[in-house]
Subunit: 380 residues, 2 copies
């Protein structure tokens, strides 16, 4: 099987590593350079997008911000999965909120803003405090505002107006601020025949809007709630492949915050902690193969490496730690890799995370120590 991935970043890279043992070969379309490359070596594969589409058995995507003309060409080939609709929805907050309503899953109240009048109406309908998100941006915390009181409305409006003016299709979605206890996410997979299998929920810690830590958790009530919502969204989309749902956990009640129509950073722990990782399962699904196991084989947490291209040798000395570099050039804040930490129990996992937090610089890995301490006090 030959799979063409739109996007040539770390997600395509990890798909290629996971696909190789199944004889699934991956080529990747680099959306910026418009080159077809091997996602592991970044070697040019010497043919244009048309040829690559022709040669592929299946086409999929590693991210949702893909020009629509390219999506349309791929759609026309009849080879694209999960569906270009799902990718477009994932890249547009308006469509995403409409999907959540259509699927009948709980989500924060919202109103779409195109004009100053919409903005006034949003404050009225959604209430304060509210969060405002550019509908086409909003990746890793960019293009977001918080409005706490009416008195700030006038000062924030010019920024929102500028954002909307950016492009003809841009808008801003105003959403009720949810006082959540924590953010959790569910990564799952749906096969061509409609079989759904989900991984255990992950608890996610964001720092400055970027995911810094994600850990598989076991909570059967929350898990069953999340799986129900996952099923509704996946079936509404007639989705095929790995899909991630991010939730606000409000006293044990989940509200869907957003979806990602692809393998997801909060599912990287599955490489060490699940029977079959999310990358292999995405490929199995889009290639029409039976799904692999999504069960937890041992407690595992993932720590993102942001803006660093080196780690102290001590990390490799820790037998619980598995480093996954993405082979990228260093840039401040850039996702450069991640560390999966596995253990035989949650208590041992908390100890391992604590050891790791002593080795790593707290400024670069801010969530690690506090999460380890929190975990050591929990009884999960």
């Amino acid at each position: 099987m030959h799979v063409l991935v739109l996007g040539a970043g770390q997600l395509a890279r990890m798909m290629s590593l996971a696909g190789a043992p199944l004889n699934i070969q991956i080529s990747a379309f680099d959306v910026t350079s418009e080159n077809i490359v091997h996602p592991l070596t970044q070697a040019l594969l010497g043919h244009g997008l048309d040829n690559a589409i022709e040669q592929a058995d299946v086409i999929t995507a590693e991210f949702e911000h893909i020009p629509h003309d390219i999506l349309d060409i791929c759609e026309a080939s009849g080879k694209f999965l999960p569906s270009t609709e799902a990718i477009k929805i994932g890249g547009d907050r308006r469509l995403e909120k409409a999907l959540l309503d259509k699927s009948g899953v709980a989500n924060a109240k919202y109103h779409v803003i195109n004009t100053k009048d919409d903005f006034t109406k949003a404050i009225e309908l959604v209430g304060l405090p509210m969060v405002l998100k550019s509908t086409l941006g909003g990746y890793d915390g960019k293009g977001q505002w918080r409005l706490k009181s009416q008195s700030e409305a006038d000062s924030i409006w010019p920024e929102i107006e500028d954002c909307i003016a950016e492009s003809p299709n841009q808008a801003v979605v105003a959403e009720a601020f949810i006082p959540f206890d924590r953010e959790v996410s569910l990564v799952g997979v749906r096969s061509i025949d409609g079989t759904i299998s989900v991984y255990p929920l992950a608890e996610n810690i964001h720092t400055n809007g970027v995911l810094s830590l994600s850990a598989a958790i076991t909570d059967s009530a929350l898990q069953s709630q999340a799986k129900q919502m996952f099923t509704k969204v996946a079936e509404t989309l007639n989705y095929v492949g790995v899909l991630a749902l991010e939730f606000f956990d409000v006293s044990g009640q989940l509200l869907v915050n957003e979806i990602a129509p692809r393998v997801h950073n909060s599912g990287h722990w599955t490489q060490q902690g699940a029977e079959v990782c999310q990358f292999e399962n995405h490929l199995r699904a889009v290639c029409g193969l039976p799904l692999g196991g999504t069960n937890l084989i041992r407690p595992t947490a993932m720590v993102n490496i942001l803006g660093e291209d080196r780690l102290p040798t001590g990390v490799l000395k820790e037998q619980a730690c598995h480093i996954h570099w993405y082979g990228k050039d260093k840039r401040p804040g850039r996702k450069m890799g991640h560390i999966n930490v596995s253990a035989s129990s949650y208590f041992e996992l908390s100890e391992q995370l604590l050891i790791l937090s002593e080795i790593l610089d707290e400024a670069s890995f801010p969530a690690l120590k506090s999460y380890a301490i929190k975990l050591s006090h929990s009884d999960s």
Copy 2:
């Protein structure tokens, strides 16, 4: 780090998959075509051996039958590990037996045959029955004879004489036939600073001289015996990297049969069953990084796929089964891939192997069913 591997087969391929997450890039020297290729894609990397040696940080090997002039060029670069001596020993049964004696590890009585007189003397010194092996061949059961009685000696000699005449350096090693209960092997790793870490022993089932099944076992007495012998051999060689020792188990007493100075087929189970697999650990060792964990994380067996390029879909449906194809063209008997089967207990593993044996054709996977039945009756 950039590692050049001599040999571009499945072992180099699996090294490249295991090295990528550590940002270790692998190129491979195809000994047959003399090309430098990427071991995953087999793409030509467009430079000769000299250039590849120049660009590599470290050079290692995936097999022992490498022309000595190439080994010598690599040795001269000062970058080769484990050591060209170890590779040469692995490719020459005479040197291998001498190493086992020098290391002081138990092994079958033997005598080297270059002439008819040597042959007569071998029968006298080693005794009957005996096994005869060509010193430079002997891979996967080729170039081997059994001599059961003196009356067969005259009829077998012409074949042995022909074998010795094949090349100036060829000879035949006569060895006492060992009535062993089973064959086990120990895969371990030694770092540049001399640290040794070994995986659990694997029990190996050969069919027609080729490995068909290998399963991690837990036997602390046998494990400690094997580790002692591993340590002696590895230290005698001042070895760096993954080394495999194959043993005859004779009523709980181990005799070393042979060594493999490389990652080994009987260590493929570590991809699913150990903290860090043999491929990553070999790279960690030769790159001077700390060793990864060699502990068993769950009972795992490996089943070789020989001469087949397809499997029934049922295999992928079994959540315990992990397929690893090598991307090779089909040839009768060729090692095309392997299946790792993992379970939470040995009893469950026996059940999973039994299920797999119902899915697969017994003629192609002859050892599977009988091993599953044997395992279900054992108490390990």
